[in-house]
Symmetry: C2
Subunit: 138 residues, 2 copies
DNA sequence: TAACTTTAGTTGTATATACAAATGTTAGTG
DNA sequence: CACTAACATTTGTATATACAACTAAAGTTA
């Protein structure tokens, strides 16, 4: 088997396993991986709201219906939507206190899972691994 | 940010990009990534048919409706289904000549894409990268 | 051999995702 | 200032996915 083929299969297989474990972990908290990632993006804004385009741009899975994903988060009162007063085409999404609280509850378990996944790596190996991943993307 | 968290996000992000590129590549051939992987699993059987459980076990994305995924491939005449004569609970799925032909057409482009993705790696680095991925899974 | 358990696959239902077309808003041009 | 293009988001539709309940066949045991 050509080496690139094997590596790509290995990559997809591994990422999928990690995704499944993450989905499972998030289930008791009532959110999906995608919703979780959007919440983290919004937390990263440090109070500043983000519009849908910004969110979509930073999402791991780039799909076009960010609207509906955010709708789910609004239903759960984890984020707020506000039409941008300067540019009424835009909407500004910001994480609520309740959203921040939920994230803070998830932080512990998710870091624990992530640490378990990479526990066999030395810091140097982890650095190398990250560089390898970035190299594939470039 | 804790190092495990960063690495896992990096992994998911990269795998997703690779998945998107693969989806795009397969589109003109009229199959999805999942369907493509099932076809490759069946080709790997070298003439021997596989039952649904075996297919599901080897699939990258483990979901429970392998039945419907295989149905799509049957509609396209890329695989055949036959009830196992020894054990009528089982069904045996095998790739058709038309399925093999389609795979052989895709092999070139997909290897080209995969090689492009890992072109910056030396063989040693690729080996290391594969070991890292396996380490995460274990 | 009837009743029970396990195995293998199928089906129903709810939700998620992808893609394209549509809507409403702003900016630019003659 | 009407006209056109670009932008930001929403909506429609088809397909994919996850999960659970269901069916049917085979094996097990009293």
């Amino acid at each position: 088997m050509p080496s690139g083929r094997k590596t790509v299969i290995n990559l997809m297989y591994t990422a999928n396993l990690v995704g499944e474990r993450t989905t499972e972990l998030l289930k008791p908290f009532g959110i999906t991986v995608q919703q979780f990632n959007v919440l983290r993006i919004l937390r990263g804004q440090k109070g500043k709201p983000a519009n849908l385009f910004t969110i979509q741009e930073r999402m791991i899975h780039k799909m076009s219906n960010t609207t509906r994903l955010v709708d789910k988060l609004i239903e759960k009162k984890l984020v707020d939507r506000m039409v941008c007063p300067n540019n009424r085409r835009k909407v500004e999404i910001s994480i609520t206190d309740s959203g921040l609280k939920l994230l803070s509850e998830i932080d512990g378990p998710i870091d624990e899972l992530n640490l378990t996944l990479v526990e066999a790596f030395t810091p140097e190996e982890l650095e190398t691994f990250n560089i390898f991943l970035e190299r594939i993307r470039s």
